[in-house]
Symmetry: C2
Subunit: 202 residues, 2 copies
């Protein structure tokens, strides 16, 4: 329930804009790393006091979990949609690569992937966020597996590799690409590695 205004009339009206804070926090974590951005920094950026932020999200962990939910909706969802689309396998691969190497700067989107970053810092996250990271990871792998199984049954999948391993392979390619992008390696080069990696499938 992102912005369900239950409009409780009583008491001092809330000035904190949950969605605005979430968006700022998302950008901060995405850009600076989920474990490197301090709560107080987000408070300054969003121009809210620490107690206000804690009132809304409960804790550091709560804020990060909420941010990850937003990220999942904004980024992971569209990515999964490619895997479940009705296009042909080869076109899906092309779409996945295009999605991954799209120019972020011109779109005002940070480089890299927050989910990948959170996985790298899994042990430094709170319980709620950490579990959510695990769930999303599993979910992504399941999407890959279903996608690959479908391609196999359609005869579009040319490689001889178990589905589970193939899904992990896909995930590793994507993770590697996101890491490279974050390091500043040109999308052109990243695209070459992805194209090569997925050329084994179709």
């Amino acid at each position: 329930m992102p912005t369900l205004k239950t409009t409780p009339k009583r008491g001092r009206p809330q000035t904190l804009d949950r969605d605005a804070v979430l968006k700022i926090a998302l950008t901060s974590y995405w850009t600076g790393g989920p474990t490197r951005v301090a709560i107080s920094h987000i408070c300054k950026e969003a121009d809210v006091s620490k107690p206000s932020l804690y009132r809304e999200f409960g804790s550091d962990d709560g804020l990060k979990a909420a941010v990850l939910d937003l990220y999942s909706e904004l980024v992971l969802g569209p990515f999964h949609n490619i895997l479940t689309s009705n296009e042909g396998f080869a076109q899906q691969i092309e779409a996945l690569i295009a999605f991954t190497v799209q120019d972020r700067k011109s779109l005002g989107i940070p480089s890299g992937c927050l989910q990948v970053a959170m996985r790298a810092h899994r042990e430094d996250l709170g319980e709620v966020t950490g579990n959510k990271v695990d769930m999303l990871r599993s979910q992504t792998l399941r999407y890959y597996e279903a996608w690959i199984e479908r391609a196999k049954s359609c005869g579009e999948f040319k490689a001889d590799i178990p589905t589970q391993a193939a899904a992990l392979f896909c995930d590793a390619q994507n993770g590697g690409a996101m890491r490279m992008q974050k390091e500043g390696i040109p999308n052109e080069i990243i695209k070459q590695t992805l194209t090569h990696a997925f050329s084994t499938f179709a």
Copy 2:
């Protein structure tokens, strides 16, 4: 100069064993993550006082840099040796995979790769260690590139991909494998992904 005892006679004899501390620190960082293990924890494990450790390594950053040097010598060196060996390309690939998926537990070696972990936490490391991580990364990429160039000129390299991208691809495969291993994914499955990934080369 790891253990060059210059034997300075004067003063209280040193009880701190640099190499022993380094080995313990290496295991701690490798197992628990380079940014999650506190100096005081290593002091307890090695049974040395904090000032003793600081006297020897200067700082957190200095200790980590020394540990990374040791890791480079123990692990990265042998890995690079495979890339410069005189074996055939296909056998080198096989050796790389075998090296990566060797059973760590039975050898008493921690899972994953310290260099990969340090790259993931690059921003949390000190200046000296951070720069060393970058240097080792570049070095590894250069080894891959030379290896690939050699295979290309021998006609053993079958894929149509620029050398730079191919090197990054290799590095991404290895990094992905190390990350999976750290997560507890069976080496059997990891081997399937690596075999598939490198099957595109030879």
